[in-house]
Symmetry: C2
Subunit: 184 residues, 2 copies
């Protein structure tokens, strides 16, 4: 296999992926939506089960209703598009992992294409049930989150008491061969 | 935000990410390991908790012991490197999702750099406990998987009865605005 010619530039962009909660009103072009879905479609999953279904939501009224599920996701109302992830089974750990894999692809691909994205969690079981009603998702499926997509206005978190940005240093995050051990 | 100049080329590579189980013996260069960890470090997580720790495993004996946890992951013995993901808490859905996010980044970044990767699950609770012993992971942490990394020999699955490759078509995977509805 050959490395991408400007792999480092692509990886710099991927490292700059942030949770975007404020979007410009511009719609997401149809070909961008298709490309994001293609990248998502090719995600790996446990035993290649591909346990997902995607609902592309560009109806602003539906996004507004989702945004009202709980105050911390009220910013979803300002996104031009969302891709709701629906999982085939009842909530399993392996499906949550696969959901994270596919969401990460959507966010990275959006960034590479010059857009931004943000994950919004519906909330507890009753809020998830309400989200399923809004999106017409049948029983027996799991729906926990929607990935908002659009052109970022800013990466700033407009909510009161936002989480701290930045990341822990590698020295704090990495061991070698056994937990807590460093390269000798 | 500006799109990456050759975003489409990068996305083509990301779409070609496959689970790699057969590696060339060549070691993974130190600067590649660092770049993979940097990409992982910058992953997003629930409330930016960064609930992870990474164990870079290049001790072949440790990889061999991991590979013996259960037959479907015996291929791990042939990988030159693994990055074991350790989660801060007891197994929670949001941490499984974040684990999937960070694993996907490792796999995509490896691909862009000309390498391949594969996720290996330790197995059930007792196999996870054994993996934790092998890797010296303290109690109260969750460890479910290691991402093998190396130069791919082939993307073929050498195991008996491999899962089918390929992916479902978009027409089967995508609804618009409500589950089961198409663009009118």
């Amino acid at each position: 296999m050959v490395a991408l010619s400007n792999a480092r530039e692509a990886l710099e962009q991927i490292k700059k992926v942030r949770q975007i909660r404020q979007y410009r009103p511009d719609p997401v072009p149809e070909e961008v939506v298709t490309e994001l879905l293609e990248v998502a479609r090719w995600s790996g999953s446990s035993r290649n089960t591909q346990p997902w279904h995607f609902i592309v939501v560009d109806d602003r009224e539906i996004l507004r209703r989702i945004s009202r599920l709980r105050p911390p996701i009220n910013w979803v109302a300002g996104a031009p598009l969302g891709i709701a992830i629906v999982l085939d089974g009842e909530s399993e750990t392996s499906e949550a992992y696969d959901e994270g894999r596919v969401a990460e692809r959507l966010l990275s691909a959006a960034k590479l294409l010059g857009l931004g994205g943000g994950v919004a969690w519906y909330g507890d079981a009753s809020q998830q049930a309400e989200a399923k009603r809004i999106l017409g998702i049948p029983p027996g499926r799991t729906a926990r989150s929607i990935v908002a997509i659009g052109y970022a206005r800013t990466a700033r978190d407009p909510r009161p008491g936002p989480a701290r940005g930045g990341r822990k240093p590698l020295a704090e995050l990495v061991s070698v061969n056994r937990y807590g051990e460093r390269r000798s």
